[in-house]
């Protein structure tokens, strides 16, 4: 049993599988002092395996089953395979997490030989289903290679009896009939960035013509019309310009019929750390932004607009079910290598996309090897992967090991290495910890205090 005191005095109590109850301070005192008398409270605590009759072993067995269920997905090793097909891009986003190059500069495209070597590795993984995600730079600048990889991957999947799906992460500025046709034929999803209203988006994403927002909106509408609304998802990145404008950002998404909103913080990688934009706001400011956005989304749901906040959905799945969400950044053991792996344009292999971004800043800590020099076993069994996985394991970390939210949280060795030089970090000083704790507290309180929110959260958890 672990517990966490909420700011207003109530206490979250969790069991080993992450199921929780929210107790009043007096109830928690009764529990911690071993003087429970309220039958309702006793029934509640027994139902969540917080307490048990000493002679009854069934609760322990049930709890063990739930813990095993949570960890069962770990054996599906590496579902997400990220192919960085080019480093070229025609945007200059201030928080870009890769060092962008001019779209005219050659030498930053992945070759067919590298792509084949990457596919060889990808299809060695034990996972029965693979998701191949094309990243850049702007991946549509190397669309021919994307077509090659998709066709090769589909053939291999058929031969090996695996499922494979595809996503292209693109700014949509280069979307044309050819791309649309190919995506339709091969059922390829599109992921794009939309930071909110025009002024926020264009300020974050300068490009020649200063029309990034217009192109993104045009592209979103076109994909929705020609490929279907479910074929496109958008992500926003929070910058200082976003703070205080969560409602407008959510409304922009709703106006474009994008009903999944992911209220993300800024990451400390790539250009973001060089431009120091990750220091532009503190955790408390972001939490206020997040709370405003979540409240507005719930209000929209009350009006019948089925908007989902995706980060909440990820956490609620862990909080309210025994399933893992698959979200790479919120897992322990960390999702690096286990959940995702990155094949860079030059053949280098990285444990995560953030690890690749660090390498663009001359920090190759998370480089696992090179496709043309190393074997699959070198990537997944080498020290470059095993050391951060082992050292960042949350159940072995001070503060995390006794945290009631540990099952909902994750180890992020790349973040902590980037910000402190240490895979584990010191959690009282960790913005990752502070941010996530704030979100967990918010969701637990809403879940317990707001019956409408509780209903929505249960839907989001099971989607």
């Amino acid at each position: 049993m672990t517990f966490h005191r909420l700011p207003a005095g109530r206490v979250v109590v969790a069991n080993a599988a992450g199921e929780h109850v929210l107790l009043e301070r007096s109830e928690f005192l009764e529990l911690s002092e071993g003087r429970l008398e309220d039958l309702r409270l006793i029934r509640l605590l027994r139902s969540k395996h917080i307490i048990r009759d000493p002679a009854d072993s069934l609760p322990v067995e049930l709890l063990a089953l739930k813990v095993r269920t949570r960890y069962a997905a770990l054996a599906e090793f590496t579902k997400l395979h990220i192919f960085v097909v080019t480093l070229r891009c025609e945007h200059s986003c201030q928080y870009c997490q890769v060092s962008r190059r001019s779209s005219n500069r050659e030498g930053y495209d992945m070759s067919e030989a590298t792509a084949v070597a990457a596919l060889d590795v990808a299809f060695r993984t034990p996972s029965s289903s693979l998701k191949i995600e094309f990243q850049g730079g702007e991946p549509l600048l190397n669309f021919e290679l994307i077509q090659f990889i998709v066709q090769q991957a589909e053939q291999r999947a058929l031969e090996l009896d695996k499922d494979v799906s595809f996503v292209i992460t693109t700014n949509l500025a280069l979307l044309d009939d050819n791309v649309i046709r190919f995506c339709r034929t091969h059922d390829i999803g599109i992921s794009t960035s939309l930071d909110g209203p025009r002024d926020i988006h264009n300020a974050n994403r300068p490009r020649p013509g200063q029309n990034s927002w217009e192109l993104a909106v045009e592209g979103i509408r076109r994909v929705q019309e020609e490929l279907g609304h479910n074929s496109i998802a958008a992500l926003m990145t929070t910058t200082e310009a976003s703070l205080g404008r969560a409602v407008e950002i959510v409304d922009t998404y709703v106006e474009l019929d994008l009903l999944d909103v992911f209220l993300r913080p800024i990451s400390p990688y790539g250009l973001a750390i060089r431009s120091r934009s990750h220091l532009a706001y503190d955790v408390e400011a972001w939490l206020r932004f997040y709370s405003d956005g979540l409240s507005h989304i719930l209000d929209l749901n009350r009006l019948g607009v089925p908007v989902v906040e995706r980060y909440a959905a990820v956490i609620l799945r862990k909080m309210l079910t025994n399933d893992e969400s698959g979200y790479v950044d919120l897992r322990s053991p960390a999702g690096i290598g286990i959940a995702a792996i990155v094949y860079n344009y030059d053949g280098d292999v990285y444990a995560s996309d953030e690890g690749r971004m660090l390498a663009e800043m001359a920090d190759t800590t998370f480089r696992l090897g090179n496709l043309h020099e190393d074997q699959y076993e070198d990537f997944v069994l080498g020290e470059a992967l095993l050391a951060p996985l082992d050292e960042s394991f949350a159940l072995s970390a001070p503060m995390c090991s006794e945290c009631a939210f540990e099952r909902y949280c994750g180890a992020d060795p790349v973040y902590h290495h980037a910000t402190t030089g240490d895979f584990l970090g010191r959690k009282p000083l960790s913005a990752f910890c502070q941010r996530n704790t704030g979100v967990f507290e918010l969701l637990v309180e809403r879940h317990h205090d707001d019956s409408f929110a509780r209903g929505q959260f249960r839907k989001w958890a099971s989607r």
Partner: protein
């Protein structure tokens, strides 16, 4: 028990040997080696840490406090890692279990 006292060359931090391993103390000292130099000697039931500043100007009290916090951090890491070793190894083994049947092509 921790005790801090002045020393002509810096600050002396006494750490109870029963509650602090030499490994944890040295790891902590290493983490702050950009600011502090820490000389550790055994003094019966205690470790005696002579803490000096690398720039020769006398250790900043904030840096000394940082060293003490870092020692606690390293002690906790060591203790919790030891107590959770079996669980951690079991879970990581599960994660890599699918690789057992992988044969090189």
């Amino acid at each position: 028990m921790t005790a801090v006292s002045a020393h002509p060359e810096g600050v002396r931090v006494q750490l109870d040997a029963g509650g602090h391993s030499i490994d944890a103390i040295q790891r902590a000292a290493y983490r702050l080696c950009d600011r502090l130099s820490v000389e550790v000697t055994s003094n019966g039931d205690n470790w005696s840490c002579l803490v000096t500043s690398v720039d020769g100007c006398g250790p900043d009290p904030i840096d000394v406090a940082d060293f003490r916090v870092e020692v606690i951090d390293q002690v906790l890491r060591e203790r919790i890692r030891d107590s959770t070793e079996q669980t951690r190894n079991m879970i990581l083994s599960l994660a890599f279990s699918g690789l057992v049947d992988q044969a090189p092509e």
